[in-house]
């Protein structure tokens, strides 16, 4: 991952999605109107968060096979970047909800699931900070990270589908994959997802390098 091309590609894709997302034509639906453009900015955040958390879990599994501490640092970097993406997804979703539902927050399975996911990952960071010993911190937090990812998939993937929800994509509400996401929107949406994932990986990589430098400095 030393090469530059994927970073440039990520930036270009995000620029394209911002310009295209604000200017390209979108279908006109009742209530949603122009807020449908939020799809390019809100849903992509969740996609990239889930991918970053997946990478974080993979690093944790790799840590448990061989106890290489750099893997643990990578897992932490991916998790905190993913957490940041999740926070942005929450904010964009709340602004969208204010304009379509009339309120920032509703008691809804999908929203509850994401709130709980945020809490689980906050607990992960608290767990990391509350263990003094380096070795056991890495081990215990790797285990909790795997548990957290599996639970997150259950909460935001399985649980909201079991009940009705106000959120698009549930309970008969339109969402992507349905009639409102026409091929024009797909042309912006998928590049945006890839772009944000690439940017997220880049941020995580920088964070990992900073952490490594800090640890090296402490050890000198």
């Amino acid at each position: 991952m030393q090469s530059k091309w994927w970073k440039i590609l990520g930036i270009l894709l995000i620029l394209y999605s911002i310009i295209g997302g604000l200017l390209f034509p979108v279908p006109h639906l009742n209530i949603l109107n122009e807020t449908i453009r939020n799809l390019y900015f809100h849903v992509t955040m969740w996609f990239s968060m889930i991918f970053l958390m997946l990478f974080s879990m993979i690093q944790s599994i790799r840590f448990l096979n061989g106890f290489d501490k750099t893997k643990d640092l990578k897992a932490e970097a991916f998790a905190s970047t993913g957490m940041f993406m999740g926070l942005l997804g929450l904010l964009t979703g709340m602004i969208w909800a204010q304009f379509t539902w009339g309120t920032f927050w509703v008691n809804d399975p999908k929203l509850n699931g994401t709130a709980v996911t945020m809490l689980i990952y906050l607990a992960y960071f608290i767990l990391r900070n509350s263990i003094e010993n380096d070795d056991s911190r890495a081990r215990v937090s790797a285990i909790y990270n795997i548990l957290a990812f599996v639970m997150m998939i259950v909460f935001i993937g399985v649980l909201p589908r079991m009940t009705d929800s106000l959120h698009p994509g549930n309970g008969g509400n339109p969402a992507f994959g349905n009639y409102d996401l026409n091929s024009g929107m797909r042309m912006v949406f998928y590049p945006a997802v890839i772009g944000w994932i690439l940017l997220g990986v880049w941020v995580a990589q920088l964070r990992y390098r900073i952490k490594t430098l800090e640890i090296n400095k402490e050890n000198i």
């Binding site: 709980v116 809490l119 003094e132 215990v140 285990i143 548990l147 599996v150 649980l159």
Partner: protein, 218 residues
């Protein structure tokens, strides 16, 4: 492995039988909270609050019960025992024991609670099934979390922080299932929810089985 699990479960039962105060304190907790609920609601409570309060009481009883599970295992003497036993056998035995304990506790609290606050449940079979699956799911998640929390200094505080978000959807599901049990006396309507509880059980036991050996080796 199975033999070890059996011996470890029997060991836990014997230990608990010898020091009964832990069990008694949990029963007293259930009794006193139910009584407080009775006093504060003056015996009249609407059905949704009944369900919510019941599961909150059960949740805190479960957290207290499982918090202790790895306390004894951290002394040097017990570490010797665990050089003999397989770590996977240890976590499975603990999960079985905690599940049994929690199913017992929840059934007792159901009895005590409905004694004080009445029993609005119509579908008793589904509700008992929901209690059994729900408390074993609580136990299997809490056992792994208490194993994680036992590795830190601030055991009790961290236990709450780590387990609350993990248990929140389970609790939500239990409340929904119980609400179905209020009105519909039909096993199939609650079937989907019960299936989810069973799946959550399997997933958390599988995760404990896979992850605990890494946690154990120090």
């Amino acid at each position: 492995m199975l033999h070890q699990v059996k011996e470890l479960v029997l060991k836990d039962i014997r230990l608990n039988g010898r020091e009964r105060n832990a069990l008694y304190s949990m029963l007293l907790y259930v009794l006193s909270t139910s009584y407080v609920a009775y006093l504060s609601f003056e015996g009249v409570i609407d059905r949704n609050s009944w369900i919510a309060l019941f599961w909150i009481i059960v949740l805190f009883a479960a957290m207290n019960a499982c918090l202790q599970s790895f306390k004894k295992e951290l002394t040097d003497q017990s570490l010797f025992y665990y050089t003999i036993a397989n770590p996977r056998a240890i976590i499975i035995a603990k999960t079985i024991f905690n599940s049994a304990l929690l199913i017992f506790l929840t059934l007792v609290s159901y009895f005590i609670y409905s004694l004080f606050l009445g029993n609005p449940i119509t579908a008793n079979v589904s509700f008992i099934l929901c209690i059994i699956l729900g408390s074993s799911a609580l136990a299997s998640v809490l056992t792994l979390v208490s194993a994680i929390a036992s590795k830190t200094n601030n055991n009790a505080g961290l236990m709450a922080v780590l387990s609350m978000p993990l248990l929140f959807p389970l609790l939500l599901n239990l409340i929904q299932t119980s609400q179905i049990c209020l009105s519909q006396n039909n096993l199939f309507i609650a079937g989907n929810q019960l299936l989810f509880l069973a799946l959550l059980n399997i997933a958390s036991v599988l995760l404990s089985y896979l992850l605990f050996p890494y946690l154990w080796r120090d």
